[in-house]
Symmetry: C2
Subunit: 343 residues, 2 copies
Amino acid sequence: MELNMLEAKFLSLPKDVGFRTSSYPTSLFGIHSYPKSNSSKVICARVSNSATSNKVATSTLLFQSKINGINEAISRTLDYFDDEYGGVIVNPDRLPSNPNVFASLLQSSLSQWITKGKKGVWLKLPSEYSELVPMAIKEGFQYHHAESGYVMLTYWIPEGPCMLPANASHQVGVGGFVINDKNEVLVVQEKYCAPPYVGFWKIPTGFIHESEEIYTGAVREVQEETGIDTEFVEVIAFRHAQNMAFEKSDLFFICMLKPLSSEIKVDDHEIEAAKWMPVVDFVKQPWIQEDSMLKKVTDIFIARMGKKYCGLFAHHLISKFDDRSSTLYYNVVNTRDSNCIGA
Amino acid sequence: MELNMLEAKFLSLPKDVGFRTSSYPTSLFGIHSYPKSNSSKVICARVSNSATSNKVATSTLLFQSKINGINEAISRTLDYFDDEYGGVIVNPDRLPSNPNVFASLLQSSLSQWITKGKKGVWLKLPSEYSELVPMAIKEGFQYHHAESGYVMLTYWIPEGPCMLPANASHQVGVGGFVINDKNEVLVVQEKYCAPPYVGFWKIPTGFIHESEEIYTGAVREVQEETGIDTEFVEVIAFRHAQNMAFEKSDLFFICMLKPLSSEIKVDDHEIEAAKWMPVVDFVKQPWIQEDSMLKKVTDIFIARMGKKYCGLFAHHLISKFDDRSSTLYYNVVNTRDSNCIGA
């Protein structure tokens, strides 16, 4: 049964998630192209020999049905939606719980979808349907991604390169430089840290949540670790590192924050100590002086304090193409109060 | 059997992937704290009632063994490594293929790990072991993430908040402004695009690969779509949008690129047409004039062309803490050739 695409949202598959050639409405200048097939990671299942043989085998699964007095051969399929890009999304709310029934229906569905010239197949299996996972893998599906409550599997039908989009590739961290009017920087010592960092006073840092703004995340992390309320000023630099946790990459945004309170309340779970430290003492720390990365960031921070540096402000903008609000980080252009010369 | 941690790398679990309180050696200012338990997404399995009852049931799985002439009760476990944070990593190379054997061993392993005060359990199941997935779920494990060849499941043993780190939360896109010495900008029309974009000349865009630099990705995308070779100059702005594909977020970096060639070769697969377009014509397009996001980015681009704007350059730095090379994006400070006044 083919259902209307309108209901597909609950699948966590926005309708703009399709193939590489599909539109990506929130893209700044039109369309992102999805990752190329020459990506380091193949994210599609290929039509394997076993799947091909299934195409034949499934013909035995055709059922006779009498509709309007005419005998028609129709094959039963899993409940699914068509997506906008020639693919199908299996309805996770109407999965058969019996693995054998699922396996048969998956075979006959694939057979029909191949006949119909369908492209990618999205199969989201909630945790309570984990017994269906081996059936899907056997049929030629591959894991695409997983979250705590489900695993998503995919299958790419056509010959040629796989056009399905990859899942997220980066984690995002933030660090906050908070300076008070006594030229003191807010610093913390982590409770549990690697030997090189013991005794090191650092700025508060942390990961942002999956659906959190960079500026919100920086303010939250500082508040959680030190109890200090702050206001985001700007991103002064960011670092990009490859192959971090789970082979994904890491983006780390260094933010200037303005303190709105002064009394420190340390988060006992992860912070050993926190304090306001004179900037000169912060900079003098050997960890900073001896490390090119830390030294450079500190230089930027000092230049920013001296109003000799331009960072990127956060501006909220809504694109008319999708009515979606997003945040554009850019410098202030052609204004007298540019932070290059004094914010 | 407990093996040495040294071999854990093949698990794609760098040794710094542990719990929130563990060190994160490449963090710019020490330690990122892992996502808080009040994160929007719970990523750990909790010790469920069924798992608790399993703790009792597994006592029947103890085996008698005679070591040095003494009878000792030892329980069999899955092959695993200790990680540095009090957790265990199940060895994916020595999984029993029989699901029933696996289920029994998982139960007795959990029982032992609980007794030993272990914390998180990482269970990586390659695709060929998909039959073990339902067994792990039944035992209380939850999906953590998946890639095409495997699914990773986790289990959090202690009372209290889950401290396991989340998987990647963002996808990263790039767009390239390429200007030649005739004040023409390199633009493309996508082959397949949503109705609002039909006829829109846009800059080349795309996602970066999982282990690719922003500057490399921008140059690659431009080359793939148009055949034009370029050199990265700087990031002039970036956009952050929430809840995009698969509910993850999106970071999009707008880059200035310098052309190194001029002859256009269109990528037939995804690009309808590409050309060098006078900047005045590019800006005049109604799509840009009527959309606040596109208009702002174009303003920034024009300001940058007029050398009245500061972007962020890419600098390669190695931190002495981990000998890892990463890229720091920042503006040029205190130099006469700052791009604020003319690069």
